[in-house]
Every structure is written in structure tokens, then in C-alpha cells.
């Protein structure tokens, strides 16, 4: 346990059952052990219903395990949430349509009681990070889907949480925007050094982004493989490199094996 507590995230013996004892009981996760190093980029991949989103939400203390424990930065997940250790981004950007882009980014800071000038300064810095400086006064509806996701990421990072939890944040974007966003996200990750846990359906996305891909199998959700990826600093050419294809194949095989046995 003391060993696990050194990590940014330590999930041990976690089982999650929804509606226990009722006819609609669902075993979402069974016996999950997972330790994530500080500053690493880890993807959770698997078919629908494998519990990858549930695992992310357990790490973020948005739901609680039926058995087992989740430690984040040497604290319980709940304590970490109350300490605002998490920045979260979802498939829908979750931008508040009644707030301008700047006001959206300022929201967590406002809740934390930052002064107006501090908020303004940080929001400007974040907009600069996601290259949307000219759009601060616009409302979300005036931005494209990709731009909205960049704002959501800026907002998640605005209060400098140590962990970034992302649930298919690029799932609703077209392929070209998606690849562009992946590059931007890696850029931000390299600049900020956050620990990122990233849920995705897409094999190439997982391989391109991550240092580690956790392959999950459904019913009940468990970890099927844990694949390390060492592609170095990602470039445009990385997507065309033989090692990239090798890793894509490895993840695909891990997923196929699971589908075959399920």
C-alpha cells in the first residue's frame, strides 16, 4: 500500500456494482488494480460497457467503489476532490451557454474565491495556452466543436489541478479536428506536466497520446492488458511510423482477444 501511495493514482481491489441486490444489478468493474505515475499520460480503452468511464469517475470521486479503495495524491479520492486536485473534461464540452468563454474559464476560480483581477489574468493565460485569445468575449454557441473542447480543457486546467481526467473529450469531433486536438493536448501536457487519465474508444488516439494504454474488457469490467508505449516526442510523422502501427496492432489484438472470449 505504501508503495501504491507514491503514485498519483492508486486503485486497489476496486469492484463497482450498480443497484446491488436489485433485479437491474450491474457489475461494472471487478477487482481493478491500477497505479498511475505522477506526470504520466494513461489511456483507458475498451468496448462500450467495459466500465472505463466508471473507472474514471471513481478516480474523480464522482462515484464510489462498492469494494476496494481509490487513492489520489496520498488522499482518498473524495479528499482529493474537495482539495480540487481534478480538472475534468467530457465528451460534451459542458460549457455554460450563459457565460462568455472567459467567464467559463473563470468559473472554477470564482468558486474558489479568487479576486476578479487574478481570475482575469489566469483566464487570459489559459486562453493563450489553447490559442483562443481572441474569443474571450464570445459565447460558447459562437464557437466550433473543437474550439469548445479547447475551452473545456483550458477551464479544467485553469486552477492548476494535478490531475486531468478526460472522458472521450474528442469523441464528437471530426477526424481532422481530432488529430489536431490530440497534438494540442500533448503540447499542453508537455508544458504543464499534469497526470492525464484519458478515456477513449479510438485505438490510434490511445496509442498516439499515451505512455500507457490500459485495455479493458466488458461484463464485468476488468483490466485485460496494460501496454506501454514509447514513441518519444510525438510529431506529425509519428502517426506514420512503423512502431506506431505496431502498437496500434498490439492494442487491437488485445481488444480482439477480449471480444472473442466475451
Amino acid at each position: 500500500m505504501s508503495d501504491a501511495k507514491q503514485s498519483a493514482v492508486a486503485v486497489s481491489g476496486v469492484t463497482k456494482v450498480f443497484n446491488p441486490g436489485k433485479p437491474n444489478e450491474v457489475h461494472a468493474l471487478t477487482d481493478i488494480d491500477l497505479s498511475i505515475d505522477e506526470g504520466s499520460f494513461v489511456s483507458l480503452i475498451g468496448p462500450s460497457g467495459c466500465g472505463k468511464s466508471t473507472l474514471l469517475r471513481l478516480i474523480g470521486a464522482l462515484t464510489h467503489p462498492t469494494h476496494g479503495s481509490v487513492w489520489v495524491n496520498d488522499k482518498s479520492a473524495d479528499e482529493a476532490r474537495l482539495d480540487r486536485d481534478y480538472g475534468m473534461a467530457f465528451q460534451t464540452s459542458g460549457l455554460f451557454k450563459w457565460r462568455t468563454i472567459t467567464e467559463n474559464i473563470e468559473l472554477p476560480l470564482q468558486l474558489m474565491g479568487w479576486s476578479k483581477s487574478e481570475r482575469k489574468e489566469r483566464a487570459a493565460e489559459m486562453l493563450d495556452l489553447v490559442k483562443l485569445s481572441e474569443f474571450g468575449d464570445h459565447y460558447p454557441r459562437e464557437l466550433s466543436g473543437g474550439m469548445r473542447q479547447r475551452v473545456a480543457i483550458a477551464r479544467a486546467l485553469s486552477f492548476r489541478p494535478s490531475l486531468l481526467l478526460m472522458d472521450e473529450p474528442f469523441g464528437a469531433l471530426d477526424e481532422m479536428t481530432r488529430e489536431h486536438m490530440q497534438t494540442e493536448l500533448l503540447d499542453i501536457w508537455e508544458k504543464t506536466g499534469k497526470t492525464v487519465v484519458f478515456v477513449t474508444h479510438s485505438i490510434p488516439e490511445a496509442v498516439f497520446l499515451s505512455q500507457r494504454v490500459i485495455v479493458m474488457s466488458p461484463r464485468p469490467g476488468r483490466i485485460a492488458s496494460d501496454i506501454s508505449i514509447d514513441l518519444g516526442h510525438r510529431l506529425f510523422e509519428t502517426r506514420e511510423a512503423p512502431l506506431f502501427f505496431e502498437k496500434v496492432t498490439e492494442v487491437r489484438e488485445a481488444l480482439r482477444f477480449e471480444e472473442g472470449s466475451a
Partner: protein, 259 residues
């Protein structure tokens, strides 16, 4: 800007004036008895002939309408906030609100008169408050509770308090619902006030004016008082719309008009 605004109103104006002209023309051809339906021109003349009387009556009825509306809105919003915040409030106050609404409220007018005195405006105000309360309560509650799950999870990830979630997410989310209800309630308030006045309250108000004129077979004059009530309803609707636009700058003009 003005030309653009006028162009927006043009279809409604043409349609309205065309309709009135058709009404006028139809009556000219059919020539029914005066009590069936007076011509718009006759109503308009009566309106200006009795202008002082109608103005005084409109002021008195308007007072009932506005105070009742404000009271009903305050009650409805407060009730909705309670119900959306506390489960126990939801389990007790929601059925109570539904039961209140199930009462034929206008039928209470004679009873309220007995409570507050036949000539007291309070009974009329009470009718308007109850009438306005329900649509405001139902819609505002819907807006406060039907919040995108992602938005609530985000707020939880920021360790936001329940009140912070209400203030920054639930209330802004409820605004369009509230204003839709306010537009319905403002017309309801005018109807409620005039009908309540048929049974009691001040005698120099629109309700009694309509009853008295109709009783004296002065139908055109009764219609002129009805016209005053309609104008009041339209005015309140426009004011609600203006508040709506002012308080939700993030919405496009089309969204606001469509709501």
C-alpha cells in the same frame, strides 16, 4: 435600427389591420343587431369617449394585476427553489401546489370576498396570486432540476457547494423556463383580475365596468373596456419579453422570440 424593427412588426401590423378591416366590412354587409358584435370603429370611438373612466378603471385593475403578478411570481419562484433544493420540500410542497392548482380558483372569488370584505381589492389580488403561482412554480422547478448531468458533475469536480450549484447552474438554466411561464402568467393575471372583479373588490375597475355596461345594454362600451384589458395583457407580455432579453444576453433574438 428603427426601420429594421418596423420591418419585424410589419407582417403582424398588416395582418391585424387587415383582420379589423374584414371585421368592419363583414358587419357592414351583414348588419347584425348591435349587441351581437359592434364594429371595431365603434369600439374605438367608445374607447375614446369613455377614456377617462376606462383609464381610471385600468389603473385600478392594473394595480391588482401587477401586485398579484409580483406576489404570485415571488411565491412560485420561492416554492420552486425550495422544492428543487430539499427532497422533503419536494415530497410535501409539490403535491400541495398541484392540489392548489386543482381548485377552480375563480370559484373562490365569492369566498375570498367574504374573507376580505366585498369591496376590498385584497380578494382580487389573492385570486391573481394563486392563478399566477402555478405556471411559474411548475416551469421554474423544471428549469432548476433539468440540468445537464455533465454540468453538475463538473461543478462537483470543482467541489462546489449546493448553493453554488444553484446559483451558478440551476438558476441560469431555469431562466428560459421562467420567462416562458411569466408570459403565460401575465395574461392569466389580467384574466384573473377582471373575472375576480366581477364578484367584488373596487367598483371603479375594468371588471365592474364591463358588467355594468353589459347590464345597461351598452355593449360597445363593454367591448371598449375589454379592449383596455387586452392592451394591458399585451403591454405585460411585451414587458416580460423585454425583461427576458435583458436578463439573458447570451441568447439570440430568434431563440428569445421562439420561447
Amino acid at each position: 435600427m428603427i426601420i429594421k424593427a418596423l420591418r419585424g412588426f410589419a407582417p403582424a401590423l398588416v395582418f391585424g389591420i387587415g383582420g379589423l378591416l374584414l371585421w368592419e366590412l363583414a358587419l357592414f354587409i351583414i348588419q347584425p343587431e348591435g349587441f351581437v358584435l359592434p364594429a371595431p370603429s365603434a369600439i374605438l370611438i367608445a374607447f375614446f369617449d369613455d377614456f377617462q373612466e376606462i383609464l381610471t378603471a385600468s389603473k385600478n385593475t392594473g394595480f391588482i394585476v401587477v401586485t398579484g403578478l409580483v406576489g404570485g411570481v415571488a411565491l412560485g419562484v420561492a416554492w420552486a427553489l425550495l422544492v428543487s433544493r430539499f427532497r422533503i420540500a419536494n415530497e410535501t410542497l409539490t403535491p400541495l401546489a398541484i392540489s392548489l392548482n386543482a381548485i377552480p380558483i375563480i370559484a373562490l372569488a365569492p369566498i375570498f370576498n367574504a374573507w376580505y370584505g366585498l369591496l376590498s381589492p385584497v380578494s382580487n389580488q389573492a385570486i391573481v396570486v394563486i392563478l399566477v403561482f402555478f405556471p411559474i412554480f411548475i416551469n421554474t422547478t423544471k428549469g432548476l432540476t433539468e440540468v445537464d448531468a455533465t454540468e453538475i458533475e463538473l461543478m462537483r469536480s470543482y467541489a462546489a457547494s449546493s448553493w453554488q450549484i444553484t446559483k451558478t447552474v440551476r438558476i441560469p438554466n431555469a431562466m428560459p423556463f421562467f420567462f416562458t411561464a411569466l408570459k403565460i402568467a401575465s395574461s392569466l393575471a389580467v384574466i384573473g383580475a377582471i373575472v375576480a372583479e366581477y364578484f367584488g373588490g373596487r367598483q371603479d375597475a375594468l371588471g365592474p365596468l364591463i358588467v355594468q355596461n353589459a347590464g345597461l345594454t351598452r355593449y360597445t362600451e363593454a367591448w371598449a373596456a375589454v379592449l383596455a384589458g387586452s392592451l394591458m395583457g399585451i403591454l405585460l407580455y411585451l414587458v416580460s419579453g423585454a425583461f427576458e432579453r435583458f436578463s439573458m444576453p447570451w441568447r439570440t433574438a430568434a431563440e428569445t422570440a421562439g420561447a
